[in-house]
Structures are given as structure tokens and as C-alpha cells.
Amino acid sequence: MTGQDYKSILENKYDKAYSSYFSDTQLNRMIKEALYRTVDKIYSVNDSRKEADELYSFIIKNEEVEITAADRVNVDELSETYYHLLRMAFTFRTPITFTYAAGVYTSVGHNLRKGDIVTVTGATDAAHNKDYTVTKVFGDKFYFDLAYVDGDISLVQTSEASPKSSDNKKSIFHAGTVNSPKYEATYDVGYFTPKSFILDPTPYSILVDYVLAPPVTIDVADTSTDLEKTYSYKFLMRVADEVVMVVGESTRDTTEMQIAARSVIDNP
């Protein structure tokens, strides 16, 4: 379905007599408004099953971003255009001081457990620089599958994060910890979405699930882009119903709005 095909569907929905009432520019503007409103409506309902069906092409999951700034991650470091946050997890790396001899790692007072993930970095042999699983812990000794040569070892821990709110900051229960980290959105003048997230405490990297801004613009004059490669047919029809609502608002046609509202109920 191209943009021009979509225009035909829209014209059938809101009334053919009006088909020349809107120019392509006006129509594209209303479609854009309807598209963002539909994404927000589906997102705000927070129905995870619907999210997977309706917004599947809008969702990025488990994107890892390494933290380079002091205590925050900028939104423009994400691979796509950020729109709404779904979930954030922090990954921490805690350095371990140790000695090694004959397959045995020794660290007095270490906190490792069997099954922990440790990561080796900075080894001369690049093949050693990866994650390993601790296979055994006994007293000050721990074991994993690497004949150590050189490099640094760190314990890797990942914790799900929660949002931090300004009014709650004075509470000790609201402070971020390694096991219960917090993120806080910051804005900048002229931005309608967060510019960056302040991270407390600062992790090594974050894993983030987020909704991106509609990836493909619907242009009613376009005859080549297949919209159904990005949006499901049902979602396109839902947006069309929202466009009819916008048309009704702009023409003060309450009947049109009621019909659109009924269509949305039938095709939520």
C-alpha cells in the first residue's frame, strides 16, 4: 500500500465529497497528527499484548549503550529517534583485585558466587576479552574457564532501573543503588522529549527498550514506498480512523467525529 493508495482509503472514510477539500499538504499534516496521537494512545493504554501487535515496528528492545558521559546518557546516542521509554536496566562492572596461579584465582574478601558473570578486559590476546561464568567458589578462591595471562577482571551485575521523581529525592528509600538503580529524564529548551537520562549510580552501560518516533512518514503523494512493510494493515486503518477524527475537529463536524469514535471502538 503506497501513500496514494492510503489517500484513497481515507477519502472513502471521511466522505468523497470532501476529497478535494484538503490539499496533499493539509492531508499529510493531519495524517502526521493522527499518527502520533495513535501511537500515544496505544502506548498510554500500556497493554503489553497490544503493544507487541500494534507498535511492533516502533519498538527497539535491549539496545545496549555504553556510558561515556559522567553520569548520563544522551538520547541521541540511541540508534533510532527516541519517543517513549519502556524499560531501562543498568549494567555495572566492579573491578576485582586478585592473584592467579595454576588455574586458581585468589582474592581475599571477594564477594563472588558460583554462576556470576565476570568479564576480562585489556588482555593482550583479544580472544580473552569476553565474559566468563564463575564455576566454583571456595573461601578466597574462585574458578572460571580461562588460563589467565593478563588483563583486568570485573564482576558484571545487571539491575532493572526505576524512574526517579524530583519530589521523592529527599527520601532515603528513593536513592539509587546498584541493586535498585534510578534514572531521571532531563529536558532542554525546545525539546519535547527527554534530551538525556541522568543515571544513579552511574553504570558501565545501559540496556534500554524504547518506542521510536514513527519511522516512515506517510506521504499521500508517494507512489513507491510500501507502508505495509513498516506498519500493519490494522494499524494503518486505526490511523485512518484517527484522521477522520482530526477532519471532524477541523471542520467542526460532530457527526464525523462520532462516526470516527464508533470506528475506533470497532477497531481499537
Partner: protein
Amino acid sequence: MILKAIVDEIKADIQAGVTIDDSRLDDAYIAAKVHAARAIVIENYLRTRINFVSEACTQTLDFRFLEKDLDAEVVSFDCPSVITADISSDGFVYVGRIDGMKPFKRNRLGYFTLGQHSYYKNSNNIFWDFSVNAQGYEKLNFYKNKRLEGARVKAMFNNPLDVPGFRVDVDNYPVDQNVKSGIVEMVTLDMFKKLRGEPDRVSDGNDKPLPPNK
């Protein structure tokens, strides 16, 4: 079962069985209530079950993490406080030799009697007690062996997270299923009462919810 699993179970109960993270309650807040509920449940067990509590509720103090102090022949180590039921029942299960085969004698008489009583003077045993020193530090004190380097301490502590070496993200929270169900029920009922009240979301310097006519 780790602490987060208990906290999530409580949050799911409050949210009618749905495990989503959309609560105004911080995990640390619920965790604080879990520690307190655990102490109450275990204290009740100490009173009603003649000091028998499941091994799953105990933790072992690792002396590798502790600093040793020596003052006037008293060897002291940092030690978190334990659950207490009454003067003769508290959370210390074993304090003794590091191999677990010889418990030390507990001193309940107070310092001023120690040096005078013939039982102490003539005894070869190591005595111990628990106290809070002038700086507010909680200490395990050992008497009659100033060369003592370590001991094994097994106890039910007030706050399991205070025990050095405890990994809250992977170590089992020291409760058995009985105690856990008591904790969840106690905290959930407490939360339901708290959640009936409106939070004060308006930053206007007054302790009340939304102002009238808004």
C-alpha cells in the same frame, strides 16, 4: 528466594497479581518493611517454639570482612545486632570455634563481675558478649584469649543486608517458606492500609493531598 523475589511478590499482591513496575512504592521502602516483619515473625517463633527456628533463617558471619580491635585484653569484632525475644532468647545460634565444634561461653553478667567471680578466673573457656561501644559501633567482644583471630558466628540478624559479604542480588534471603509467607501477609496487609490514603503529591508546603476546588 532472594529479597527482590519477596518484594516483587508483595508488589504483585498489592497490584492484584500483575507484576508490573508501575508502583509509587520504592523497592527499598518495601524491603525495609520486610526486614522488620521478618524480625517480628522470628521473634514470635523464638517465644512460642522454645527457641527453635529453621536453619534457613540464620546467617554466618565471615570474619574475613571484619576488623579486629584489641583493647585491654578484650578482642572485639564488628557484628550487626540480632533479633531479640527476651533476656534469655535472642538470635545468636552459635558463637564459638571456627570449626563449629566448640561454642564459647556467653557472658550475661556484666563487666564488673567478670574479674571477681571464681568461675571466670579459674575457667579456661573463652567468654563472649555483644555490646554497643561509645562510638555507637556494635561489637562482639571476646574475653580470655587476646590472640583470638576469628570465630564462627551463626545468628539471625535484624537486617540481613548488614552482614558483611551478603549479596542481596544472588544470596537467599534468610527465611524459610513459613516465615516468608508470614512476612508477605504482614507487609501486604500493612500496605493495603497505607495505600488507602492519598499521597501528598502537591509541593505546596502542606501535608495534604490536592487542595480543595481543584
